[in-house]
Amino acid sequence: MAELRLYHQPGGCSRVTLAALEHVGAAYEDRLVDLASGEQHSAEFLAINPRGKIPALVVDGELIAENAAILLWIHHRWPDAGLLPASSGLDATRQLADLFWLSSFWHPTVRAIRMPIRWTTGAPEPVQERGSLLLAEPLARMDRLLCGQTWWFGESWSICDVYFCWICGIAEGGGYPLEGMKGIVLHRQRTMAHPAFRQAILREQAALARGQE
């Protein structure tokens, strides 16, 4: 079995990666990277991931960067664990497109709301405002979808649910009001009650407790 080590930050997008590892039952080590103090820019961390980002997964000494690329790798190593519904064909391509959408649209857009200084050297408010405008229509669309179906892909849970749940949490943390969106609110509750999510939170808490020793 491969030796796995995940670099993460509690509450960061690496929560999705943790949930994936927990869901498939992988044995792995985890290491905290303190983004608040800029540890991602330290020489030690850049030696692991020169791009200075988490999540970063090291597999037998080799780095896999980018959340969605890690999720897909886990899915292919544990094909029967149900991390994603499709493994081949046009459905798998559509699923891949969903991951690109989450990573290239949703994530950078909620970043504008929650961490506007990542997109500007000036005042944060106009970037936050723009982020909220970009989000409004796709969020309303997702809300309608999730009013009619339980999970992102319909009947069965997948890691896209955790990714989207994390994204909604970041938007809300940045002040975007979600209360009125019944489909999204209930979807978040369902996702947070799912074992993979709960175990990811426990793992984050354990890492923090270790860090304080």
Binding site: I64, A68, L72, T93, F100, S104, T120, V127, R130
Partner: protein
Amino acid sequence: MTHHLKLFHAYTACTRVTLTALEHVGAVYDDELLDMARGEHRAPEFLAVNSQGKVPSLLVDGALLTENGAILRWLDSEYPKAGLFPRTVSDIEYARQTGDLFWLSSGWHPYARAVKVPSLWTTGDIAPVRERGTQLVTGVVRQLEQRLAGQDWWYGSDWSIIDTYLWWACVNAEIGGFDLSAFGGIADWRARNEAHPSLVRALAREQAALQRKRSEYA
């Protein structure tokens, strides 16, 4: 099996990468250029194709595929011998390539957008967004320059579609005012990219679509 393919694209957009991939694999395809300045990507005709109003949108036997990275991977699986990506020997190596695609779509592309179209990231003054975009692009351009120090292409001795994707992001940042002149490795690599037959054909195809569009207006 051959599919009926139709690509919706836009002038100078990230669809240059998709066009290059289609040309490279030798696919037969229809294409339609949308005039974004006239809001054609928000018109009901196109929203009926892709409700998100984004390009690239590829119709495969009438079914919609979106997201550049996903389309590139799909073309690679349909035309495995065409060499869009170098063959990999392990699932880790494959995952690293996929990671490069995600890096481009979630990093390079939004960063270049901050430089070229900063108004997409702000309702206010664009100067501080362009400044931040310039910092972000500088970070990734340096990584590219470093990698090209010892090799001709991103993956070494052979071209891949990742080179075209990176080329597009660099050129777009430059159109937005980013100064690439300090990066000598990138200048040489850029010239190699621009001489690559698949990109040359893609740009000719884009130009032809633009001419068709202009004659529609005339």
